[in-house]
Amino acid sequence: MTESIIDLQNISVVFNKEKQQLKAVNDINLRIDRGDIYGIIGYSGAGKSTLVRVINLLQRPTVGKVIVDGTNLLTLPSKKLRTVRKKIGMIFQHFNLMNSRTVFNNVEYPLLHEKISKVERQKRVQRLLELVGLNEFAGAYPEQLSGGQKQRVAIARALASQPDILISDEATSALDPKTTESILKLLRRLNHELGLTIVLITHEMNVIKSICHNVAVIEDGEIIERGSVKDIFTKPKKELTRDFVDTSTNVKKALLQIKWDTQVNSLGGNQRLVQLNFIGGSSKQSLISELARDYHVDANILYANVDQIDGTSIGYMITIFTGATEALDESVEILERNGVEVVPINLDQIKGDEEQW
């Protein structure tokens, strides 16, 4: 069993606003293993930002226990807490760099009060800038940098005190997709090379898909679903989770398009509209042609896509099967036996913001 580096127990955070109580986080338990990349996904206002701020006590929980690396943070005096915080790096959506300091001085800042020599300190800053690929910008001011470069500076700064944990609070939400990809790649590398545990919050399933191993879905201050990214992607249980997954795999968009297609709306009795999810090995077999050959079931493929999630291939297919009733039943059975998830689609239940496309 791997040891959990973060252990949040029964965490509730209540804000008092003009005599009104707002429960931002409601009795959440969360354990994160050392070396994991753990994603927390939810819409804005779900409480995810409040939840991660509990980890380094930027937000004190109203109720609950915060245990990081075996230490109960809530019992620590403020000086000890500050020492612990140095071991929990944090990066933000808006970078939060100091505009009056150069890139070099920003990265140097966390080291200014450490007991190390100036030479050693400068060497460390140099190494960190190399790590994030910003050597030549050492003398620049944050305002002169692009968003992606600013986030790299912030990452270097967060790593200066050699933390065990890195909290990423929507760190890629203000960046374009290409820059997002490069920042995520850097985070993945840091996780791999330094063994850094990363806790990442986002509202984009693509971010989760591209680097996380585990994920928790949060809604109204509660974790409604959690598990490995692979499981969440292939077997989402809650509607919100399915929504996030479908948005990221484009299945939702495809379903909406299909719904508007009148031909699909008038299916015959010998036809079935289904969504097939191929996981791992099953995505590599030629099951569909087998069905056509052996059972005379024709597949009219409306949409198909293969994703790579945490090292596993996951395929999605929306198709209309046409054939004899018995053959159709048998086909579903064969598919399921081969590890393919078969989800019948009821178009009336497909809802979505039509402005999406």
């Binding site: 500050r82 020492t83 939060n96 100091m98 505009n99 009056s100 966390p110 305002e143 005190s161």
Partner: protein
């Protein structure tokens, strides 16, 4: 020249002394009120709701004191504060005695200016410093005062200029200085040229402060 400003020529030395008196009052009270105001401005910032050392009681007390002191018209403050001046300085008349009401007249104003300047700093930067394990003292000196330096210089210049204005009002209690000269000699004796020259010297002082302040603020402003 002599015809244009007949009275000034006769009291050249008096005007020079008055200028020094104005500078003395301005600078002495600026230093003391500056330290007080900066300190109280910082107290307001760090104890404010969600501040780094949030404290409702200290915040609302300080906030109210600043508000009340800011509300008293300076000319009345001069009179009200006279017993304190008497106690501290030993007299209520003269240049040094004027420094006490000047300090009380300007530091609450400056505290509010400093507070506003520091409010401009992105709270996210403060949060980042907290997340990095910075202590409140480190945050005050390495983040607030450093990130806010350019704005603090700007409001300091602004405050200094208001302070020069107040020194002239203090002329009403015989503080000496250019305001005193302009009122008690220029105005009372109908020697208009004295009033005008006193005003011009004051303007010269103010412009000098403004130019130096602007340049310093620019120097410390990073984009």
């Amino acid at each position: 020249m002599v015809n244009l400003i007949p009275n000034v020529v006769n009291m050249k030395q008096q005007l020079i002394d008055a200028t020094w008196a104005t500078l003395y009052m301005t600078i002495t009270s600026a230093i003391i009120a500056g330290i007080l105001g900066l300190g109280i401005g910082l107290v307001l910032i760090i104890t404010q709701p969600n501040g780094i050392l949030e404290d409702r009681i200290i915040y609302s007390f300080t906030d109210k004191v600043v508000n009340i002191l800011r509300s008293v018209p300076f000319i009345i403050l001069l009179a009200v504060i006279a017993p304190l001046t008497q106690y501290l300085i030993g007299t209520t008349v003269g240049t040094t005695a004027a420094i006490v009401p000047l300090i009380f007249g300007i530091f609450p104003f400056y505290a509010r200016q400093v507070q506003n300047a520091l409010l401009e700093i992105d709270p996210g930067v403060i949060e980042a410093a907290q997340a990095m394990g910075s202590s409140p003292i480190e945050i005050i000196f390495s983040v607030y005062l450093r990130e806010g330096l350019s704005d603090i210089i700007r409001v300091s210049t602004f405050t200094l200029i208001s302070l020069v204005g107040l020194t002239t009002v203090a002329g009403a209690i015989g503080s000496g200085g250019l305001g005193d000269v302009a009122i008690t000699i220029g105005y009372a004796r109908f020697e208009n040229d004295v009033t005008i020259v006193a005003m011009m010297i004051i303007l010269a002082l103010i412009f000098t402060f403004q130019i130096i302040g602007d340049q310093l603020a620019q120097k410390f402003k990073q984009f």
